[in-house]
Amino acid sequence: MPDRAQLPLALVEAAVGVVLVLAVGTAFAFGVPTPASEPTQLDAYADDAATVLASEPPRHAGTTRLAEVARSEAAFEREAAALVRRTDRILPANLLYRVETPHGSVGYPVPAGVAVGERTVATGYGPVTIRVWYA
């Protein structure tokens, strides 16, 4: 009798139901990865450094310090060392940073695979991006 070999229909339905319920359940089990607190703190550092630099008066001419370094190649060459000193001074000692301007970058190369806080400030001469990470 071919009938005897068949699985009871109720069990087949139950199996399908279990698959469906578990499919929804796994979404809760794994969940959405919550952002760790480290990037938040790093973003705060990047935000603060950008805000401070962007509202500081320049050393020579221009509206702010960041606008001054973004202004021209020559201005960047002249101000790069001072920008490094100032950024060093502002950020806590356990952080490394990189500041990218339209005319070049100062700071350290960004390593791969670490959490990085980032903030971009628009100046009149192009965007300036500040990245910070834990040393």
């Binding site: 109720a10 578990l22 359940g25 607190s37 703190q41 509202s55 806590p92």
Partner: protein, 221 residues
């Protein structure tokens, strides 16, 4: 015969589905319970964000904390300005010095912000006025100009970087407040019908000195 076999199968099927559903509910409950646990980090981040923003009672502009205001800040002022944090223990420290503390946070989350501590002191400039112009050595948002031209000389107009800030055809004499820009170096020029000498104009402005500091905000709900 087949009809009787289906009855225990149905019972087993119901049992399996009910167990699985219960398991899924437990998982969902756990997920929701752990999701609401992270409020400390969120409120610490938010509170620190508001403390350093330009509208904060502590700052004179974004990320620049006024030194004298911070000395008067306490737990009451914190509750008044940021009522959102009333049911949590909060501690605010500036460069390891306590600023305000409510409750006794034992753990919680700490967020560090980099700020500048500003001290403002009035500075006075008495230009020689050899060319009827004076460039302020520091950038400032506001300045007071005191004009005292010699008899017979009329100062009709004062310009800041070419923009007319004071004008009186009958002659300017006395103290005037000037609204200036922090984003430009200001040169004041005077239109006078006679020579001006040192002491005829005095500029008083607020020179700010800033030092770097770390603002720590701890929230423990």
């Amino acid at each position: 015969m087949r009809g009787q076999v289906n009855l225990p199968a149905l019972a087993v099927a119901l049992l399996v589905v009910t167990t699985t559903a219960g398991l899924a509910f437990a998982l969902a409950d756990d997920a929701f319970a752990s999701a609401t646990r992270d409020t400390d980090a969120a409120s610490a981040t938010m509170l620190s964000e508001r403390l350093v923003s330009e509208r904060s009672p502590l700052t004179s502009r974004a990320n620049v904390v006024n030194r004298s205001v911070v000395a008067d800040f306490d737990a009451d002022a914190l509750t008044r300005s940021f009522p959102v944090s009333t049911d949590a223990a909060v501690r605010i420290r500036l460069d390891d010095q306590p600023v305000a503390e409510r409750g006794d946070p034992t753990g919680g989350t700490t967020v560090e912000r980099v700020v500048l501590l500003e001290r403002q002191e009035p500075a006075t400039l008495e230009p020689t006025l050899a060319t009827n112009r004076v460039t302020l050595p520091r950038r400032t948002e506001a300045a007071t100009l005191r004009l005292d031209p010699p008899n017979g000389t009329t100062v009709s107009t004062v310009r800041a970087n070419g923009r007319i800030v004071l004008h009186d055809p009958g002659g300017l004499d006395g103290a005037y407040g000037l609204d200036l820009s922090r984003y430009a170096t200001i040169t004041l020029s005077f239109d006078a019908d006679g020579p001006l000498r040192e002491g005829d104009a005095t500029v008083t402005y607020r020179a700010s000195e800033t030092t770097k500091a770390l603002l720590e905000v701890t929230v423990d709900a």
